[in-house]
């Protein structure tokens, strides 16, 4: 079979794009590190961020990781689209198959596992404890460890850009193509180990948030008084807890095939590759709901605030979420209606798939009736939400068409399918997450992102999406398959050129987003990083508890744990006109920072790298290092925490009360 670890630097030597990209990344990395060291920021970075166990800071770090990975995954998208627009008929484009096949794999893997998932956990981290009136998550150290393992996974899979190669197998890596016979190099090994790392991190994160939500809600906040975003997090994390172990087990089987000559998914030795397809889709379909349910949760928070009105159908929302939780496990076969499974199987899964559209439709109606008879303000978060509703129903339309098994036989694996899932993922997930991002940004930093750029970003994404993906529906119906490095029919070129235009419009949207962040960073630099205490509710009409504390919130979140009596806890406080408490505080107990998570992450990263390249002594060393760090932390770490003195709490709360009073007069 040959040695998978032969020729680690082949791509660097032979593909100029790879060489220059790697050089650029190395230069930027060196500049960033040098900058941090020269400006003397390292100590502060280490104390305040890297070793922090504060859920707000970890949330922000997750979002930063996600934005970087968004740019990385989007660069892949640009390359794919520009290549395809050139590679028709006589044209051959600029990416040979062995390179192109890596790029579409990278795009899928990075966008799902290292962009969407970290962004999701960033929002969970920042918002959930604040929304339920808690001072932190249940397991702050575990939270820090989760982040660093996710980070290690993201770095590991990106190392494959320069050293070795990315898998050429698609994001779910069907064997035998992903077995040693189909992929005799290190691409699939990078894929397996980095996803194992992120899988462990995601599973731990799910446990953390489930425990946090079930055990740490403010007194009076019963489950049926909890904000919908937290409800969506419960369902999403419950799904994660059930599906990630399936994926990780499947990866272990594939690892045994590739490393030890087992025969789970090989064509010889009584292996059966088709079993894999069931494993990955038992994971893969609920994963879609892991991502989209919190998106629904975000809309259920944002739409009421900008409609200045109660959420319509609160309990219907929760029931719809729970119905989806159950149904999402009964539909995975719709990803392979074309396997020839027979009438009974196809009929069952076709009907189950359609039924999911009922609770989803109910949610859409709920948001619509939340807007109905409201006072709608067109701030960027609300634009994203309206764009989401408008676009997502279209994705739902093609989704229902795909759920009719006999119609799916004409769409399966075609560009039509690709257009559909981008319709729901961009229109449903990305628009909502960005709505959440701009919505909670002022809570995290005390000031809003630039509004003009925010509106520009929305319109570029919105228009760009339709220009980039509607031609894809058409070429799909014309018979274009996905994952094509070259098309025979030159008549399709015009469609691919239009798609490229759409991609660049979306690129302008991402650019606007990045510019917004740069402006925010400049603003922060002017203040030398000391963000002043801002008012609680910068959007006005905030309804849930996160808007009741200062922006940015103090490290301890709530000076006194709030009492909750209704679904919209902060709205109720405002109605009652409760004054902000400014005296009689107790010292607040806080968990201590720890470097253990960081070091375990570093060991895990090197461990993954050593496993990919079969460097067994290093594998042993790093494994022992990671376990030893964990044990050392358990026995010798600082578990006592520290107290923020009452005087300091009082100082912050008084400053906050002054800001609030000023706001009310104005």
């Amino acid at each position: 079979m040959g040695d998978p670890t032969a020729a680690p630097f082949e791509a660097l030597g032979q593909v100029p794009i790879v060489l220059y990209t790697c050089l650029a990344i190395v230069v930027i990395a060196v500049l960033v590190v040098a900058g941090i060291l020269l400006l003397g920021w390292w100590g502060s970075l280490w104390r305040n961020w890297i070793t922090s166990v504060d859920h707000k800071r970890l949330g922000i770090m997750y979002v930063v990781l996600a934005v970087v990975m968004l740019v990385r995954g989007f660069a892949d998208a640009i390359m794919m689209r520009t290549h395809q627009a050139m590679a028709l008929g006589e044209g051959s484009g600029y990416l040979p198959p062995e390179h192109y096949d890596q790029i579409f794999t990278a795009h899928g893997v990075i966008m799902i596992f290292f962009m969407a998932t970290p962004l999701l956990f960033g929002l969970f981290n920042f918002v959930i404890p604040l929304q339920i009136g808690a001072r932190d998550v249940a397991f702050p150290f575990l939270n820090n460890l989760s982040f660093w393992l996710t980070f290690a996974g993201a770095i590991l899979i990106n190392i494959s850009l320069g050293v070795g190669n990315f898998g050429r197998v698609g994001w779910l890596a069907y064997p035998p193509l992903s077995g040693l016979s189909g992929s005799p190099d290190t691409g699939v090994d990078y894929y397996i180990w980095s996803l194992q790392l992120s899988g462990v991190a995601t599973t731990m994160g799910a446990i953390n948030f489930l425990v946090t939500i079930f055990k740490m809600r403010a007194p009076g906040m019963t489950l049926m008084k909890m904000p919908i975003f937290c409800w969506s997090a419960v369902v999403s994390n419950a799904l994660i807890l059930m599906i990630y172990p399936v994926l990780m087990a499947a990866y272990i089987f594939l690892t045994l095939d590739r490393y030890l000559g087992f025969h789970f998914f090989t064509n010889d030795g009584a292996g059966n590759p088709m079993v894999w397809i069931n494993y990955v889709w038992v994971f893969g379909h609920p994963e879609v709901y892991v991502l989209v349910l919190p998106a629904f949760g975000i809309l259920s928070e944002v739409v009421p605030v900008f409609s200045s009105k109660r959420l319509f159908g609160y309990s219907a929302m929760i029931w719809a979420l729970l119905v989806i939780l159950v149904l999402s496990f009964l539909v995975w076969v719709h990803h392979f209606f074309t396997m020839g499974a027979g009438i009974a199987v196809n009929t069952f899964f076709s009907i189950m798939t359609m039924i999911i559209s009922v609770p989803t439709g109910v949610k859409i109606f709920n948001w619509l009736f939340t807007m109905y008879k409201g006072r709608i303000r067109f701030e960027p978060p609300m634009l994203w939400c309206m764009g989401m509703i408008f676009t997502f129903v279209g994705g739902g339309l093609t989704g229902v068409m795909l759920s009719l098994a006999s119609a799916d036989w004409a769409f399966h694996n075609s560009a039509f399918l690709v257009a559909h899932f981008h319709h729901t993922i961009i229109g449903g997930v990305v628009f909502s997450y960005l709505a959440g991002f701009v919505f909670w940004f002022p809570k995290a930093f005390g000031f809003k992102l630039n509004r003009t750029l925010g509106i520009a970003s929305f319109w570029c994404w919105f228009v760009g999406f339709y220009v980039a993906f509607f031609p894809l529906y058409v070429v799909g119906l014309k018979g274009a398959t996905r994952r094509m490095q070259h098309f025979m029919d030159p008549a399709w070129q015009i469609y691919y050129i239009v798609m490229v235009v759409g991609v660049f419009i979306i690129a302008l949207g991402i650019l606007s987003l990045v510019l917004q962040l740069i402006l925010a960073i400049i603003h922060g630099c002017k203040l030398k990083g000391n963000l002043p205490v801002g008012k609680a509710d910068p959007w006005g009409d905030g309804r849930s508890l996160e808007w009741s504390v200062s922006s940015p919130p103090p490290p301890y979140n709530f000076a006194t744990v709030p009492q909750v009596s209704t679904t919209d806890a902060y709205w109720q406080m405002k109605v009652e006109g409760k004054p902000i408490k400014t005296s009689g505080f107790q010292p607040v107990h806080m968990p201590s920072n720890t470097a253990a998570g960081f070091w375990i992450g570093i060991f895990a990263l090197i461990l993954g790298f050593a496993l990919v390249w079969h460097i067994w002594w290093l594998v042993m060393l790093c494994f022992i290092g990671a376990v030893a760090s964990f044990i050392c932390y358990s026995f010798f770490g600082d578990h006592d925490g520290y107290y923020i003195p009452a005087a300091k709490v009082q100082e912050h709360e008084e400053a906050f009360a002054r800001i609030e009073a000023k706001g009310r007069k104005a």
Binding site: K309, G340, G361, M371, L397, L404, A407, N413, Y466
Partner: protein, 317 residues
């Protein structure tokens, strides 16, 4: 704002023009019985879904406009958060729609199940033309067992005669797809899938693999020539004259990975070659999967429980 509107109108118009340019949209302009039925289902489901989707899209825009904050004349009910009547309808409308679609889907799944022989009213009672397809790295091998010939990357079939394609793959999962004729169906290693198709018109239709299978995947295309019976017979005669023989050794040679293969013909196809490909016993000295399963089943209860292996390869009588 105005500019953005103008630009979006421009692109909307451009997309619409592309849509309506009357060019060839394979899935919506089918030529076979199965694909025409599929087209009907697609159109009906699309229109039914539009009945819900278009009102929602309009409602988003209308509500956003009517209840904008600056419109102080619009009614404002900040504490209104539920209405049993409305909620009843928002569950019942999707449920009704899904019920209709479910009946539709079940009907069509029964009617168009690929492994089922097409009804006589559609296909007549002419004997079925059988083609055994093997997806290789990266080309298609089509064996005509009734005629003892085989081709690479080309299908000839008489228009109006029912065709049974049973398919498998040598290595990776591929999928057989002729968009103008019918469904995508997986060609999987160690498995045998059956697809019944019929073309109603003469013509040349593009076919290809619809499941990514590695470096040469993009080139896995073939032409389906739907021709008169006379032309078909002439084509068979031409293939029979080929001096290439397809025995097990020649098959193993052909199965080596290669790209951009031209059309090729084989005569003298070894009997039960396709059975051996499905059961992975082309290499001499290897035991066929079916045999292995029988041995395992005879040995232990566990082997018996796990031996559900029945590739169901149709042999030519």
């Amino acid at each position: 704002m105005e500019h953005i509107k103008k630009i979006s109108y421009f692109f909307g118009a451009a997309v619409l023009m592309l849509l309506l340019s009357g060019c060839d949209i394979a899935v919506l302009q089918p030529v076979g019985y199965v694909s025409k039925e599929m087209r009907n289902l697609i159109v009906v489901s699309f229109v039914l879904m539009l009945l819900i989707v278009i009102p929602v899209m309009i409602a988003v825009v209308v509500f956003a406009f009517k209840y904008r904050a600056s419109n102080k004349n619009a009614e404002y009910l900040p504490d209104w958060g539920g209405s049993h009547k409305l909620e009843f309808w928002m569950w019942i409308i999707p449920i009704c729609m899904v019920s209709i679609l479910a009946v539709l889907s079940a009907t069509y799944i029964h009617k168009l199940e690929p492994s089922k022989v097409l009804p006589e009213s559609v296909a007549g009672n002419e004997p079925i033309l059988q083609i055994d397809a093997v997806a290789l790295d990266w080309k298609w091998l089509f064996i005509y067992p009734q005629y003892g010939v085989a081709t690479v990357n080309e299908i000839y079939a008489p228009a109006g005669r029912q065709v049974l394609i049973q398919m498998t793959a040598e290595n990776s999962v591929n999928a057989f797809w002729v968009p103008k004729l019918g469904p995508v169906l997986y060609a999987m290693p160690q498995m045998n899938d059956k697809l019944h198709l019929i073309s109603k018109e003469d013509g040349v239709y593009k076919g290809r693999s619809a499941n990514y299978s590695g470096a040469g995947f993009a080139g896995m295309e073939f032409d389906w020539h739907s021709v008169s019976r006379g032309d078909f017979n002439a084509w068979v005669a031409k293939a029979r004259q080929s001096r290439n023989r397809l025995d097990r050794a020649a098959y193993l040679n052909l199965a080596q990975a290669s790209q951009g293969n031209p059309v090729a013909y084989y005569s003298g196809v070894e009997k039960d070659l396709y059975y051996r490909v499905v059961n992975r016993c082309v290499v001499s000295g290897t035991v066929c999967n079916e045999e292995l399963m029988k041995i395992a089943a005879a040995k232990s209860l566990w082997g018996q429980l796990c031996s559900v292996f029945d590739p169901g390869v149709v042999a030519v009588k």
